[in-house]
Symmetry: C5
Subunit: 372 residues, 5 copies
Amino acid sequence: MKKSRPRKSKKQLSKKIGMAPGSLVYVGSMDANAAQLAKPIVSVMIYDAAELTEQILSAEALANFKLTDYSKAGKKVWLNVHGVHDAALIKQIGDLFHLHPLVQEDILNTEQRPKVDEFDDYVFLETRCFRYDQAAMTMDSEQVSFVLGRDYLLTFQERATGNFEPVRTRMRVSRAHIRELGVDYLAYALLDSVVDKYFSVLEAVGDASEALEEVLLHKPTNTELHAIHQLKHVSIELRRAVWPLREVINTLSRNENDFFKPTTMPYLRDVYDHTVSFIESLESIRDALSGMMDIYMASVSQRVNLEVRALTVVAMLFMPATLIAGIFGMNFHEMPWLADKDGFWWAMGLMLSIALVMLTIFWRRQWLTSQS
Amino acid sequence: MKKSRPRKSKKQLSKKIGMAPGSLVYVGSMDANAAQLAKPIVSVMIYDAAELTEQILSAEALANFKLTDYSKAGKKVWLNVHGVHDAALIKQIGDLFHLHPLVQEDILNTEQRPKVDEFDDYVFLETRCFRYDQAAMTMDSEQVSFVLGRDYLLTFQERATGNFEPVRTRMRVSRAHIRELGVDYLAYALLDSVVDKYFSVLEAVGDASEALEEVLLHKPTNTELHAIHQLKHVSIELRRAVWPLREVINTLSRNENDFFKPTTMPYLRDVYDHTVSFIESLESIRDALSGMMDIYMASVSQRVNLEVRALTVVAMLFMPATLIAGIFGMNFHEMPWLADKDGFWWAMGLMLSIALVMLTIFWRRQWLTSQS
Amino acid sequence: MKKSRPRKSKKQLSKKIGMAPGSLVYVGSMDANAAQLAKPIVSVMIYDAAELTEQILSAEALANFKLTDYSKAGKKVWLNVHGVHDAALIKQIGDLFHLHPLVQEDILNTEQRPKVDEFDDYVFLETRCFRYDQAAMTMDSEQVSFVLGRDYLLTFQERATGNFEPVRTRMRVSRAHIRELGVDYLAYALLDSVVDKYFSVLEAVGDASEALEEVLLHKPTNTELHAIHQLKHVSIELRRAVWPLREVINTLSRNENDFFKPTTMPYLRDVYDHTVSFIESLESIRDALSGMMDIYMASVSQRVNLEVRALTVVAMLFMPATLIAGIFGMNFHEMPWLADKDGFWWAMGLMLSIALVMLTIFWRRQWLTSQS
Amino acid sequence: MKKSRPRKSKKQLSKKIGMAPGSLVYVGSMDANAAQLAKPIVSVMIYDAAELTEQILSAEALANFKLTDYSKAGKKVWLNVHGVHDAALIKQIGDLFHLHPLVQEDILNTEQRPKVDEFDDYVFLETRCFRYDQAAMTMDSEQVSFVLGRDYLLTFQERATGNFEPVRTRMRVSRAHIRELGVDYLAYALLDSVVDKYFSVLEAVGDASEALEEVLLHKPTNTELHAIHQLKHVSIELRRAVWPLREVINTLSRNENDFFKPTTMPYLRDVYDHTVSFIESLESIRDALSGMMDIYMASVSQRVNLEVRALTVVAMLFMPATLIAGIFGMNFHEMPWLADKDGFWWAMGLMLSIALVMLTIFWRRQWLTSQS
Amino acid sequence: MKKSRPRKSKKQLSKKIGMAPGSLVYVGSMDANAAQLAKPIVSVMIYDAAELTEQILSAEALANFKLTDYSKAGKKVWLNVHGVHDAALIKQIGDLFHLHPLVQEDILNTEQRPKVDEFDDYVFLETRCFRYDQAAMTMDSEQVSFVLGRDYLLTFQERATGNFEPVRTRMRVSRAHIRELGVDYLAYALLDSVVDKYFSVLEAVGDASEALEEVLLHKPTNTELHAIHQLKHVSIELRRAVWPLREVINTLSRNENDFFKPTTMPYLRDVYDHTVSFIESLESIRDALSGMMDIYMASVSQRVNLEVRALTVVAMLFMPATLIAGIFGMNFHEMPWLADKDGFWWAMGLMLSIALVMLTIFWRRQWLTSQS
Ligand SMILES: [Mg+2]
Ligand SMILES: [Mg+2]
Ligand SMILES: [Mg+2]
Ligand SMILES: [Mg+2]
Ligand SMILES: [Mg+2]
Ligand SMILES: [Mg+2]
Ligand SMILES: [Mg+2]
Ligand SMILES: [Mg+2]
Ligand SMILES: [Mg+2]
Ligand SMILES: [Mg+2]
Ligand SMILES: [Mg+2]
Ligand SMILES: [Mg+2]
Ligand SMILES: [Mg+2]
Ligand SMILES: [Mg+2]
Ligand SMILES: [Mg+2]
Ligand SMILES: [Mg+2]
Ligand SMILES: [Mg+2]
Ligand SMILES: [Mg+2]
Ligand SMILES: [Mg+2]
Ligand SMILES: [Mg+2]
Ligand SMILES: [Mg+2]
Ligand SMILES: [Mg+2]
Ligand SMILES: [Mg+2]
Ligand SMILES: [Mg+2]
Ligand SMILES: [Mg+2]
Ligand SMILES: [Mg+2]
Ligand SMILES: [Mg+2]
Ligand SMILES: [Mg+2]
Ligand SMILES: [Mg+2]
Ligand SMILES: [Mg+2]
Ligand SMILES: [Mg+2]
């Protein structure tokens, strides 16, 4: 699990320096998050168009699991693992399905960038899934790995997020379309639900960004500066996950391969279109965030301007009057007006006249409105 | 329908999370806009060089509509739908013309980016059309979908904008050139009218941008800051629509395909040239908007400078005089000038001299002109 | 004719919205510019190595003009049109040489970006030519179209600018090298003169830019801000014309085509080198203009700094003295120094001492020099 | 050895101007660093799956070393050199293994960018290795060269950094997997340890960058400005090393070559994935550093704003009171309030009232909180 | 010869507007630079492994020069020209070696960008050579042209810079390796010396840049602003020369051609590596210069901040005291403290107390240290 900010447990990849490649060590954080399971859960769906069996595999059941039992019977198998911090379990499943040591390592190393690797018997996909915290403007990410064989699909999730529930629900429907099709279509459906999830994050970020804009144009404070910065972090994180994912899906949907059937191709291209569309929206939000930083700067400068002006106005109104008061406070033996009965009032009138002249000048120059 | 800013109904795409692909749900906003029809209107033009039949299809007529009736007779069919929020209707038409479920979904999902998808029996195009509000500097966009078969053309517009009227008018002319040519030429003509519409938006944005520049160089206020920001939003929106459209038209005009005849190719290349030209003009406007932000910042800084200077000038003129007045207001028993008959005037003269010396210095340094 | 800034007649392209493609309407501005002719002038040069005939074609002569009369005799034909606002004339010439309606439209639409279109019987080139106004830092552009057939060359200029005169002069020389070669070499020679013209604009812009830099580093005002902005506009305009022109010439000089002979290819590559070189110089000027904007901002900030400092210095010099004067102006019955004979001078000495201490501090901090 | 900043010995490459290519001169700095050896150490590991011999070669042993002695026996040879400033030694080893003069030159010239060069009998790799100084935020880099033959591997390190120790440890294990495989796998393992090292630097830089962000949003000083600058330098340096390295590994892992066996290819692709991932994380840090610079600027402007406001508040509170005091200090013979018993208190009340009105206005405008 | 800044003689390319291509006119500046020769010097080296003849060709000798005399004897010829402003001479040599008119023109036009043109009998290279003036931070550039035939090499330099001397020295050695190899290797050696020269400029620019950084972080003035600007100009100039040179050398080292032998290819690739490395170092310096501009701005803003704060501190210390003095200077008949014996000292104490309270506040807020 990876948090866009703040991150606590950073020394993750450095754990592995100097180890042999394929050394199986969980690289991720084992926090006390309720969503992360102390013990990984291995669930399996065995299905064809007619029938669906669903079960949680105990350690024992997993040890006795044989893929060929089902594939010979024309059944398709979807095995899902919640929680990948148990290296021994991953190795057990990996060996069961003959996964390359580097693949097993990638599943455990949850800081992978999205990628696709084709092997003779399966194709391996890495993706990231996000959870956005609207209040803190931070984002969690977890790694979701897919191994697609000819008659089975393995999925590995860091946490029990319920992201795949809607697909499960669709599968449970009697004689569902999704059960008639192969595991490649199931893989597509899950991938699609991952990408759909991105859009909900994007919408939240876009809403936050637009709300910020409103405030920024009128009364920007440090809070907004902080928020822009947070959103930038989130958008950088999203970007890092989706650009390579786009490449991955593009690779799958363009090239011939043994694992995705031609009829599934249009669906993959549809997910591809979604990722491209996502990227373009994200870039627009990034452009908007850049523009907001500029507006923040402009607003602050503008306000310095208004306050220097306020200071100048005050100084110009009071300094002449203060000087006049000072002059009539001098102790010369002979000074005009002092002995006059209305001298004081003339002096006051003089002060006031100068202040009024000043105000007129300011008013003409529109220095008295707070509009720049 | 999508507004560049402000947008009200944002949770549109998230409606679809977890649904099966091809689930037909209208993704767009059903506002009370007069231009959007409560009930979609399906109109059809059946034509060849000699004859043109035009009619509004009722639900019943649509149910009985058979394409082969016309194609066998060598007639060409253009079926246009105004309003795409009725998922059942889109499904009915989609099934009538054997459109792929994903195509039907794209027609309903009005947040699509422009794209082209080729199928065996038709080619599917997504485009966006804009309506710019000059006063508010905001922009509406609607999705316009094209399905081009071998002897029919389907078009789907979100609203009744009248964008296609000029083409209809040209078709109604007896033995019009456009009726002699195939539906591919008709598709081109409609696409061309969509792109032509972009240029009118571009001209409005360009004019607004130039008007802003004039003001910015002389007297920038928060209003201009806000306007630059609006125009940037509009230009980002335009950009997102036209870049992929360029790719779409490029694909169509370069590759061999079954739906556009070789004689139509030069026309497609002409539209392609328009999109490239549009993009280049848009980039120039974007560059200009960036430059305007810089000028805004420079102008504000410049004004802070002028006002700090004004403050300094005032302080330098009054502070010495105030000090002199203060000095002659001290209560020492023995002070020079106090008893002199002209002492007061000497003091006043001293104040004035210092002020004049200061003014001379300021004048020499050109601090008294408002030109920086 | 297009002005980089300010432009008057902007609604040019929108004239054509909804018209059929190939509708012949002049898109450009018909201003009272002396250089633009009320009536277009059609001039023709018929030549081979031995002979050169030059004439202005009247409407009648043009109606009777037959290309085959000359091509059969091995003569080459260069027909030039000054002024393209007469749609009927362009149509007449276009039909005479069997030009595609879209080509005729492009010739009339003077807002085209540079491009090349190859047809069976001719190749069509669009280019732009510039005229820079050094005082106003603005730039006019006009469209120059070339139609190169196997034994003829058509050129269309918006105005009578005299750009082609040097080439005409070279042709008039008896048995000139240029007359021995084909019309493709003539087309090259004219294209070369167009590109050469760009460099004179570039030099003017570069000179203006360097002159600005000198001023900016010393005494920047709003005038310089305005000038930088103008030059940026001009450079954007140049850029938009030359990037596609580079592509055009690259296309012609790399690909085999029927219209340019292999011996002319090195010459085309030479023009290509010029456009690349032009673009690189232009990018350098653009970089310099960006840097100048930064320097402008830095200079203004620097000056705010100096003036705040001036204000601080003045305040620090006068405030203590004013306080001392105020203190000795208090009306306490018993105060030190007041009754002393030299009390006044002691007070004055105190004021002066404080001022001198302040000045020493400022001098040490180098606050008294105007160098930051 | 190269320090990102500050570098002392800069005239390194200019040592070689005018020399014949292949002239063997050490280009690097011979500082008194304890890690750099006065005398290079040549160590050799001769191994197969069954056996491993390890020794330090003396000058004499090296002179008598014959590769064929071992290769005929099916043994693999890894020869490592610590310290490359002894040109004669490099020439001796280079000649022993028939290395091209340019390769020998590259090994000595420690300012090389990462690259790969394939020769008939070996492939030559240049890489850089880093050591980050967390306190000073500076980074050392050293050059690590690989020469991979069919049955031998040469590695050249500038310093004895211990980077390769973990691999040595793995080799010393009896019948280790790594000893069963070829020298290509060994080369991969060392390359992998170099790239793993990069991640530890990246984590340190990322941590420093995040720590800076915290401070910047609250109380930025010159120290942070300096730190941002340092980190930018480090990230530029990292970037220069890793971009070409990515290309190098890509080249090796895509193309067929004689030196890396097909079974090693997935491992090379894994390192390639690491470099791509590294680059993306680095770019994110660079983006963050750019954003931090903006935040620094915004914070400073914000603070100028707050302090101008403080000044304005003070001036507005004291100037009116000072004027009133001045007025009642005037020496007019007839003035209101002066003779009143409570005149003084009325004046004081007037001063206070005005100050309170001012404070109310400021409080309403939220000028009294230090939040902008 | 071209100066990066300031340039005096700018109207160089415009000299040629309207001329026929291949018109031989010297485009460059004929300044009184001691390094530029009034009369070009033509020197020739005729050599094979055994023998080397070196001579300065007089006009007469040149007229009688016959290449075949030497090539038949298996001799190789290197002809070098210092000074290219004599168009007649260039034409004479050009005709002697059958150079294309456009090549002759390029040699004379010293504002060419680096390029390569292959002809049947020779390959033509343009490069630029630099001379950096460390004090003024400006840079001269001169054009160096190469014509490489099968058994001869022509080189044309604008000035007698001595750049080629080290290669000459190597050739004069009896039975030098360089004399055993072909003229292609000689061309490589000269090209290598040109590129080596770039690095010395780069080191000077890098040193200047680092020296600036030191100053900038502590005490930036206008002088540094000016220096950053100069270095940016120099780096733009370098960039313009080296990017196309990289392409040139890449072209030569990848493609098969008749003029460079396979054994010379690794050497060309080595120069190519140098240019790539040069470009990357240059980009780093450019990044650093950009960062320095940001730091300059930040430092200036920071200083404005400090000085506004100083002003605020002074105002806050003196304004309350001045008000108190003003209050006790009022002329009310009845006022507290005035008649008290210690009234004056109480007033003074009040002033001092307020000042001390203020100072305590400032000290707590760390406003009294000059660190931000
Ligand atoms: Mg995009
Ligand atoms: Mg991008
Ligand atoms: Mg963008
Ligand atoms: Mg982008
Ligand atoms: Mg974009
Ligand atoms: Mg940008
Ligand atoms: Mg920016
Ligand atoms: Mg462009
Ligand atoms: Mg762009
Ligand atoms: Mg641009
Ligand atoms: Mg662009
Ligand atoms: Mg562009
Ligand atoms: Mg460029
Ligand atoms: Mg360039
Ligand atoms: Mg560029
Ligand atoms: Mg650019
Ligand atoms: Mg450039
Ligand atoms: Mg650039
Ligand atoms: Mg900028
Ligand atoms: Mg990236
Ligand atoms: Mg980048
Ligand atoms: Mg990036
Ligand atoms: Mg990147
Ligand atoms: Mg980026
Ligand atoms: Mg930028
Ligand atoms: Mg680079
Ligand atoms: Mg760059
Ligand atoms: Mg860079
Ligand atoms: Mg680069
Ligand atoms: Mg780069
Ligand atoms: Mg910047």
